[in-house]
């Protein structure tokens, strides 16, 4: 079940969901989503160098996605006049907002693009939109320009929308569970 604007606002007020800084009450919401904005920090993936061939093999022993990104990308900060994302260029970006979905709140989310930007050819994620129950942090955006013309990205622009959904029940890790009261880490807990 998708949360409406009203339910999202109530959940934020009751701290069932945390979004920091808080979304603008008057313009950040739509009927069933809340807009998030673009942080100035980005990681720019380099283009192909003639004569150099690289490949990513996620099945290789020791594969480390973060090291791959660190190797292929350059960290940068978007200036006030913006960053020009050229056609077919790929950057990692982040929402300016820190988002927290505590497991007991029974809320998960999906980050999706905004239609106004999608129509210009801007993708904000690469098939991994799920924000799991229990998530906390800034949401990473895998951004690519699919249009034939450059797109200017500016810090603070509304870049994506967060669709919040109630989960059916609490995930297993949200329960005290069958092991409550057992010894963990050398510490004995009392039974429930």
């Amino acid at each position: 079940m998708i949360l409406t604007d009203r339910e999202i606002k109530i959940a934020i007020r009751q701290r069932l969901i945390e979004i920091d800084p808080a979304p603008n009450e008057s313009v950040a919401f739509s009927a069933t989503a809340v807009d998030l904005t673009l942080d100035p920090d980005i990681a720019i993936f380099g283009g192909a160098v003639p004569g150099v061939r690289k490949e990513i093999d996620p099945s290789e022993e020791g594969f480390d996605a973060e090291r791959v990104a660190l190797d292929l990308a350059t960290r940068a900060k978007i200036k006030a006049d913006g960053y020009l994302l050229k056609p077919k260029d790929f950057v990692l970006a982040w929402t300016r907002e820190y988002v927290r979905l505590p497991t007991p709140s029974r809320v998960a989310a999906r980050v999706e693009g905004k239609s106004s930007l999608a129509r210009c050819g801007l993708a904000v994620h690469m098939t991994a939109p799920t924000i799991h129950s229990g998530f906390e942090g800034r949401i990473r955006l895998e951004m690519m320009n699919h249009s034939p013309v450059p797109i200017r990205l500016k810090p603070g622009m509304r870049i994506c929308q967060l669709i919040l959904e109630m989960t059916l029940g609490t995930p297993e890790k949200g329960y005290q569970g069958q092991f409550f009261g057992q010894t963990v880490g050398g510490k004995k807990k009392k039974a429930a």
Partner: protein, 88 residues
């Protein structure tokens, strides 16, 4: 529960940090928000999901670099949350 972690490096964003968890299958790295780390370099993992002797199955707060969410860790890698300790 909280699982002990070691700082393995900076994240791509200033708010992030790469941490390493000692699992039964070896070290697993994941990127987390710095706010997720306790003062004692631990991460909240909720209630354990399974047990095999001294190994406990826990779900990490983010997907690891190798694509795992649930990992087996030794009991000594786990600590109680502050509120759990108050209950005990």
């Amino acid at each position: 529960m909280r699982v002990k972690v070691q700082i393995a490096g900076e994240g791509l964003h200033p708010s992030e940090v790469v941490v390493q968890v000692a699992t039964a299958e070896g070290a697993e790295k994941l990127v987390v928000d710095k706010r997720s780390l306790g003062n004692d370099n631990t991460l909240s993992v909720g209630a354990p999901l399974g047990r095999k002797g001294d190994l406990w199955l826990v779900e990490l707060p983010r997907e690891t670099m190798r694509g795992s969410w649930r990992v087996w860790v030794k009991g000594k890698e786990l600590e109680q949350e502050a509120e759990e300790a108050q209950v005990a």
